[in-house]
Symmetry: C2
């Protein structure tokens, strides 16, 4: 039932995070979602999603309003503009196409204030390339604490509730009140299905650094050791030898680089955030096992660089970063992006 009061929403990326976002936005009943898929397009286009969700129950054959396998070029295709573009892909700035390349055609040339971009992605400084490329567009931060995975294309298993923190990234020129209003409006739209915990959270830097205590540390450590977040807690000395030292470096960097004081129990909270018995693999570990590129630059490289610039010693994260970079190179080679002499 399209109408002038309905929101026109583009969700780019329909993996385990994007699919649940699309469900929440459609469930609100006031928005039409166009969902852009890549690797799972054929399956979802043909049969819809098979979703097992702790928030939504079982949704067999679920589809948003529209499904596409390319990002719409709104100018060329003469499409109406999107109120929000939700980016739920991986963010891998060291591999082309970048997120900027991906989003660009969905913004109307010359009218880049009419659309708000929501980055439902992890890591630090991910808004920076957007502020450079689209200086008039407001960029929202979405920090998702969802536990979900896509064990096979189109099959989404969400076993932990979708808790989403939305706020506006600091913007060099946009009106703060407008940015706040757009963030709050997104929260209302996302939450109106009443199945999810989506909250307006103005302190974006705090939310992002807090999640990095997990993401900059457990993601690479689990990826590199091949131990999931349950097993890393059981392995001889891994918590005291690796995880806690790395997390302490992030806590110190957050304070020195961003003035973010994380709660005193953040390290133990993040260590125990995944239930022990479920033996969950952090997203980066899942990516490596699938042969996908890893998000190590925004999760690990940026906080490391920020911390070092602020004078924090980060010996553990430095080595983890260098190792992750070598792992990324290995994936590049396997995917034919680098040639080696024979």
């Amino acid at each position: 039932m399209p109408g002038i009061l309905r929101n026109n929403i583009l969700v780019i990326g329909g993996g385990s995070v994007g699919a649940i976002a699309a469900v929440n936005i459609e469930l609100g009943g006031v928005s039409d979602v166009t969902l852009v898929l890549r690797s799972n397009y054929d399956v979802v286009n043909e049969k819809g999603y098979d979703i097992e969700s702790c928030d939504h129950g079982n949704l067999k054959g679920w589809r948003p309003s529209k499904v596409r396998n390319t990002v719409p070029n709104v100018s060329e295709e003469g499409l109406p503009y999107y109120n929000y573009i939700v980016v739920a892909t991986k963010n891998i700035p060291d591999i082309s196409p970048t997120v900027i390349d991906l989003v660009s055609p969905a913004l109307r040339i010359g009218n880049r204030t009419e659309t708000t971009i929501v980055l439902l992605q992890n890591g630090l400084n991910i808004e920076k390339p957007f502020l450079t490329s689209f200086p008039d567009t407001i960029i929202l931060s979405g920090v998702s604490l969802i536990g979900s995975a896509e064990p096979s294309p189109g099959h989404i298993v969400q076993d932990e509730p979708d808790r989403l923190l939305i706020g506006a990234f600091p913007h060099p020129s946009a009106n703060v009140l407008i940015a706040e209003a757009l963030a709050k409006s997104f929260v209302v739209m996302y939450s109106s299905g009443r199945k999810t915990d989506c909250t307006y959270s103005p302190n974006v830097l705090h939310d992002r650094w807090r999640k990095l205590v997990y993401n900059a540390c457990l993601n690479p450590i689990c990826t590199i050791t091949g131990l999931d977040s349950g097993r890393i807690r059981l392995a001889d000395g891994a918590l005291n030898g690796l995880v806690r030292p790395a997390m302490r470096e992030i806590v110190r960097a957050a304070r020195a680089a961003a003035g973010v004081d994380l709660a005193g129990d953040v390290i133990e909270t993040m260590i125990n955030v995944d239930p022990l018995e479920s033996y969950l693999k952090p997203s980066m570990q899942q990516d490596v096992e699938k042969g996908n590129y890893i998000e190590f630059e925004n999760l690990l490289g940026e906080p490391l660089r920020e911390g070092r610039r602020a004078g924090v010693e980060m010996p553990t994260l430095e080595v983890l970063y260098q190792l992750a970079k070598a792992v990324q190179w290995r994936i590049k080679e396997r995917r034919g992006l680098v040639d080696i002499p024979t």
Copy 2:
């Protein structure tokens, strides 16, 4: 042709290093080798080794004088004593049985000066448990710079010459001249087939620390990143970000902890010791890929502890050590040595 002037030699471990050692010792023509095998016993006992060697050519169906699948218990079996026991197994002190457990039955009780033990193994402080358990026995150091592998049981491919440095480990009570003489006598026996480069080298600590520049660094880095020693040289920034910092820590530790001054070009020499185009996997990487335990304590843990005791900062090796320890735990779990809550 047994005779009283012949040496009675026990070689424990018939993988890629032990098999070539057995060949060299038998080729000398003055020794009888009893070779103790484990995983490849059935194949070698039935069909002999299939050896492709740059030193020895192709040896199809090669066998030493005797092949066994257990370490002989010389006292119980009433066997003559061994002149030398060459230990060519992996040395993994954190997993039972240890090398001490393994060697023990091959020494006659109460007569532990008649046999000399040759540790053809890598890493630091490997003689210490022997000096404690068998305080009267002389222990020789064998630092092998061989390039060989066992791609399938009993099939040995040696593509780089066997260069072996033999010297006596410092001994708290034994006569230095006797220890030297026993080392030199081993060199003569090993070299008399004239196919190999086995040298007496009195500066055991120098030889061991020098090899650690490779083994403590490239072994874990290649293991953890999944990149072989050729690829790690090609991967973005891995040499400057990981390999050289780790190697510099070893060079500093060698000087501070052992007074060993390694040659100024040792780092570049070790980086380039494997031919680039051959993309060789260091032994630890091969072990992980085969699901075998890794020798991280003697290769990485001991130099790290020695360096730290001497006041050297070793941030790179510290993280690599902790990661290697977690990898070892993963292998233990896969092999059923640890139980995890379900």
